[in-house]
């Protein structure tokens, strides 16, 4: 009669099927119990998914243009009064030699003399249309860096610049206002008394959209006629290769003015991560908090139901103990049941949350982005919730003495 000298053993497979049986026996209650976990995990996925999707949306727009743009400001340092223009003549070429720079050019807004205006014909000609369009001194590099689209003609280049040519590039709206329909006749506009031949008309730019509403003339001509910048100091627009912006921003001042780098200050593009965090911060955190609250409620729900189930099934506990179950087996069984409930809630919540992300993305015409790690972690989160919630009831169940359990 010594065949039972060993220990009671319960195969893992049997433990799991007992847990599943325990859940399936009361389907309605199981569904209600896991609802909290469903909501918690669902909200978790939806929040992370939506913020991720929105951030990815910003990223794609951001990376291509803004992240490849550096602006260098002419501050003049302490010599601001003495040095109205810190960018050297050779600024475009110097900057173009910096690694990662595509194109770079200096620009500033010109203050016309009182009484000067932009006209399509010489002063005194009554037929001439007048324009209030701002005039901008822009070295050829600005045209290259801004990425304009020419409807007619083309931009001026270093050759025009070095020869001090009086040429201009204007936006299509300005052209229409000045009555310029074609460049074939080599039309001129008059800025004050000086005639500028319009060599290009643009209808779009990739950067600095305000250039569309400006008249751009070479820097050399502008300096010759109106002198250095007066109201606003000059700036430099730099377009860089992808990923090079930060480095370029760092090197710009020294490359342009090795003698007085303090005259210049670079403004690198905003960090896309900072922008994404800004999106994630405001609403996302609130919803994440909500998700945590849901999960907590879910855990309390599971704990409560499991505790009730323990009391209800006290006879079953006694019976199992009489049939050879160790108290450990009872603990494991109830833990497995609550963990399974949590897992089911987690999986359902993951599906629901993903559906929400996809639905919102479809509606907003975004590309839904959900981190696969999040997707994998979410059911585990449900499982953990269930396990945690089951700890106390399972411990209680195992402590009930078999006789007491059988008397009920």
């Amino acid at each position: 009669m010594d065949r039972g000298a060993g220990r009671s053993r319960l195969a893992t497979r049997d433990l799991l099927s007992e847990a599943v049986a325990g859940i399936v026996q009361r389907p309605a209650r199981s569904v209600l119990t896991s609802l909290g976990t469903v909501l918690g995990v669902g909200a978790f996925i939806a929040v992370l998914g939506l913020t991720g999707t929105a951030a990815a949306q910003i990223d794609t727009r951001f990376n291509r243009l803004t992240a490849t743009e550096v602006t260098v400001e002419d501050t003049g340092g302490r010599d601001a009064d003495r040095v109205p223009l810190a960018f050297p003549r050779s600024a475009d070429a110097r900057m173009a030699r910096v690694n990662g720079v595509e194109a770079a050019g200096v620009y500033w807004k010109i203050r016309l003399a009182p009484g000067q205006s932009v006209r399509s014909s010489q002063v005194g000609n009554a037929n001439g249309a007048v324009s209030q369009t701002p005039v901008v001194a822009a070295s050829p590099g600005v045209l290259a860096a801004a990425g304009p689209h020419y409807v007619q003609g083309r931009g001026y280049n270093a050759f025009h610049e070095s020869h001090g040519d009086s040429v201009a590039v204007i936006g299509s709206a300005t052209a229409a206002r000045l009555g310029i329909l074609t460049l074939r006749t080599q039309p001129a506009i008059f800025i004050g008394d000086t005639a500028f031949t319009v060599v290009g008309i643009i209808d779009d730019v990739e950067r600095k959209p305000d250039l569309l509403l400006s008249i751009m003339i070479p820097r050399a001509s502008a300096e010759r006629i109106w002198g250095p910048p007066q109201d606003e100091r000059a700036k430099m627009l730099v377009s860089t290769d992808l990923g090079a912006a930060a480095q370029v921003a760092e090197e710009a001042a020294l490359a342009l003015r090795p003698d007085h780098p303090e005259y210049l200050r670079s403004i690198p593009p905003a960090d896309p991560k900072a922008l994404r965090n800004a999106v994630g911060n405001d609403l996302g955190q609130l919803f994440l908090l909500l998700a945590v609250v849901c999960l907590f409620i879910g855990a309390v729900g599971i704990a409560n139901t499991t505790l009730v189930a323990v009391m209800e099934r006290i006879g079953e506990i006694g019976l199992r103990r009489a049939l050879g179950a160790r108290s450990r087996h009872i603990t494991l069984q109830f833990l497995a049941e609550s963990a399974a409930l949590g897992l089911v809630g987690g999986v359902t919540g993951t599906s629901l949350g993903t559906a929400v992300v996809v639905g919102v993305s479809l509606q907003k015409e975004w590309t839904p982005v959900v981190d696969p790690l999040t997707l994998a972690a979410a059911p585990a989160l449900g499982l953990a919730t269930g396990l945690l919630a089951g700890l106390y009831p399972a411990w209680r169940a195992a402590r009930i003495p078999p006789v007491d359990a059988l008397r009920r």
Partner: protein, 236 residues
């Protein structure tokens, strides 16, 4: 009848059982009792006299509050909780007064449960459960839920569950309480066969028919054990 060379299946020495209460209830007064391998013992007594308390203690579900209980010569007070569970699972079959069937499991599944904690492969569990159910005349109701079974049928499922593990010691609490005389007789025949096969059986009963089958009859009254026939059991 007493084999000196091998220990008795059950040997109680000055064993008493008092429920702590409050108020404390003495369910069993200190007594001594030997039950040998292969005996068929009937326990009779009025309601509340302590029959079920005695049986739970014999089945290692409860500890005596005084005295020593030797099961096959093993001092049960020295046995750990998990070892007791193992002993219950492998050596002892219970038929409870109130059956204790799981309401959401079929008769067959209820019987299989008795082999769950012994790591019997599922296939073997199925086969054995079906065999035992056939033996108690319930093959046709094997897949019914207990709630759809009559009281007598439930009792037979409980008996089948107790037998399926082939225990050395079978403890029955009123196994014929819900049976008509015909079914009671056939259950008694079954117990008789098991007895002849060498199983040690202790049966609590109100039924004179059952008591008559037992070679020994132990009477409990207000927690006091008396044995009329042989005097093998005596109050301390």
């Amino acid at each position: 009848m007493v084999h000196v060379d091998r220990p008795a299946v059950i040997a109680l020495e000055g064993v008493g059982l008092t429920y702590p209460g409050p108020p404390p209830v003495t369910a069993l007064r200190p007594c001594s009792l030997r039950i040998e391998q292969g005996e068929f013992v009937a326990v009779v007594g009025p309601s509340g006299s302590g029959k079920s308390s005695l049986l739970n203690m014999l089945g290692l579900l409860d500890n005596p509050t005084e005295g020593t209980y030797l099961l096959n010569g093993l001092d049960t007070s020295a046995v750990s909780d998990s070892r007791r569970a193992a002993l219950r699972g492998s050596h002892i079959g219970f038929v409870f007064q109130s059956f204790h069937l799981l309401p959401h499991r079929t008769a067959q599944e209820n019987v299989e449960l008795a082999m769950l904690y012994r790591r019997t492969p599922r296939r073997v569990r199925r086969r054995k459960a079906a065999e035992v159910l056939a033996r108690v005349g319930l093959a046709h109701r094997a897949h019914a839920l207990p709630t759809h079974l009559s009281g007598g049928e439930r009792q037979r499922v409980a008996v089948a569950r107790a037998l399926v593990g082939e225990p050395a010691l079978l403890l029955c609490d009123e196994p014929t309480g819900n049976l008509d005389s015909g079914n009671a007789a056939s259950l008694l025949d079954l117990l008789g066969r098991l007895h002849r096969e060498g199983m040690t059986i202790v049966v609590i009963t109100h039924d004179g028919q059952v008591a008559a089958r037992g070679r020994r009859t132990i009477t409990i009254r207000d927690g006091v054990l008396t044995e009329v026939d042989t005097g093998a059991a005596a109050p301390c």
